[in-house]
Symmetry: C2
Subunit: 361 residues, 2 copies
């Protein structure tokens, strides 16, 4: 086995070692075809099996009802920010958004480029997005209610999703998709850029409910309509075949090796606890968010002293902990502990933090 670092990158991020080994081992000869997966036609039977398997595993893992379709669309979550208002706005019905951080803010900005009546019905911007808002009212006639399930940069995560009443929920689940079970019934659309919990950058997995498809205007550019992906099983044009292949391997690992989303959630809770316990007991590390809504995926924290923080980040890097620096827009520290980050990596980081504290107090 090759030497591997402890990868706490926020995305693209760590992937399961057994998945990486499988890709490597069959890279020159995909399923006995005598060619690489990246040389294989998207119309080949061998690839058809891959994409169908990825769809079926997604349906099983999330226990999706028959009213949902699973689509693969290029462009990542940022592309969805544009497609959602374009496809799913109802005439003269406002778009409701909850603003809980950098990515929500971007989604709102893109909605406003296209639709006049975009309402931010709740926001935690007043306290630098360190908490999640409550006590808001959803417009009854809203086209949809959009929110971000996990805020990668700010380190917050909804434990109980906002209640939209009869208004369909639309959710950017990029950074905690497939990390725990979800009751998908209130959702009109769920989307997730792959590069956190699912696979390589370059594709978003989109789950859309049948009633949403009826909203799509028929004069959209073909490539920007959800109907195109639904009607062609995500094969209208050449899809990002390698990314979908890796997603299928990751979903296989999640279902067959881990044992599904309940077990994944248990492991993720255990991993997050290891870090938050260190932070809660520490005199030099402190969390940056309300502890009631801190993320199981992105543990954000600061050191009480700026010089110490610099030393911590530099020592972490030297000791093989990669990606522990916070996002450039907020600074500080962040350990992204997505599904594929092992409990051993998290234990090592927790121990390293404790040792650093001992040596520096």
């Amino acid at each position: 086995m090759e030497e591997r670092v402890h990868n706490f990158n926020a995305g693209p991020a760590a992937l399961p070692l057994e998945v990486l080994e499988e890709i490597r081992n069959s890279f020159l000869n995909f399923k006995g075809t005598g060619m690489s997966i990246i040389e294989t036609s998207h119309r080949a039977v061998a690839f058809d099996e891959v994409i169908n398997d990825a769809v079926e595993r997604t349906k099983r893992l999330l226990k999706l009802g028959d009213e949902f379709s699973v689509l693969f669309i290029q462009g990542g979550a940022s592309h969805q920010f544009c497609m959602i208002p374009m496809n799913l706005s109802l005439p003269n019905k406002p778009l409701d958004y909850i603003n809980t951080g950098t990515w929500s803010t971007k989604a709102i900005k893109e909605a406003r480029i296209q639709v006049e009546d975009v309402r931010v019905i709740a926001s935690s911007e007043d306290k630098n997005f360190s908490y999640l808002p409550s006590g808001f009212t959803v417009d009854k006639d809203a086209s949809f209610l959009h929110f971000t399930s996990n805020n990668t940069i700010k380190g917050t995560q909804w434990k109980k999703y906002p209640d939209g009443g009869d208004v369909p929920l639309i959710c950017d689940m990029s950074s905690d998709f497939m990390s725990h079970p979800v009751d998908t019934r209130p959702f009109g659309l769920i989307y997730a850029g792959a590069q956190k919990n699912l696979g390589p950058a370059g594709v978003a997995l989109v789950i859309i409910r049948d009633d949403m498809l009826k909203r799509i205007p028929n004069n959209l550019p073909t490539i920007l309509s959800y109907a195109t992906y639904k009607d062609n099983d995500s094969l209208f044009n050449t899809p990002p075949t390698f990314a979908i292949y890796v997603i299928d391997l990751v979903l296989t690992w999640l279902e067959d090796t881990i044992g599904g989303l309940e077990e994944m959630e248990r492991i993720n809770k255990e991993k997050a606890s290891l870090l938050y316990e260190v932070i809660d007991e520490s005199k030099i590390f402190k969390g940056t968010t309300d502890s009631s809504c801190r993320s199981m995926m992105n543990a954000t924290f600061r050191l009480t002293d700026e010089e110490l923080e610099k030393n911590f980040l530099s020592d972490a890097m030297k000791n093989g902990f990669v990606g522990v620096k916070g996002h450039k827009s907020v600074g500080g520290c962040r350990a992204s502990i997505y599904n594929a980050v092992t409990i051993e990596s998290v234990k090592s980081l927790a121990n390293f933090m404790k040792e650093f504290e001992s040596a520096n107090t």
Copy 2:
């Protein structure tokens, strides 16, 4: 070395064996980072070197002037069909298109969704796109003149590009990009889906000239504006890092192993000649296009007898020649002989065709 088939796929297609081996060998440890390329942050120095190298090699290989920028955009050529009219139409100036096959037709369809005055100034549809039109007149006040340099399905290729006068050319070069030198000066924009000559599916390489950037409306969705990619060096959102990494390796092979586009063209001509000589001398194989414009990338042909054609395709498959069946929309046979298809593979196919003819006449 693993057993490899002769891959004549139309795209995704054959890639250089040395590139595939390099990907495999460093798959668990990219540039000594202790992680896979697909786990590496798009903000990491190691990836920055990759994308910058890919841009610089593109500029050197095509001898691009300083007025050109090289961008990486998700969604493939089909996504460009939508972005081009959205970004580059001038008010009250028609869009001129030349229709030479399936992909031109799709580009025209997408332009018409967005712009009223789209003119097809020349077409070879009357003879099932088996030739390339001449003697047409470009509107002097057109926003641009769009054409397809190589018609993957129909098997034709422009040997001398249409003259747009002062009207900038826009070209879909997906299926012959980087297969021969190009005088890029008359072009406002060149685009190419990667999955033929460049790398894996999931990204288009776009070359845009500075004066085109001034046309872009400022109210576009951010992700659909060329300015976004130009202003952020293709890193506005997470790019398809793996696809760009493979493109960089392919461009390295093209520049350092092959020796550049002049040499690549010489090899491609030799490969195409091997097949067209068999076709020209055959009593049972016949080309489907005018010989003056037949493609160096996609050799299309039929057999004189339908039963014989079925047998040929089935025998080809049995003998390790993959992807020789024509596109489902036209039938017949097609051998796609992109840059990475070796002369040995083409010789083997040419010999197989001759042997098949001997055995069946």
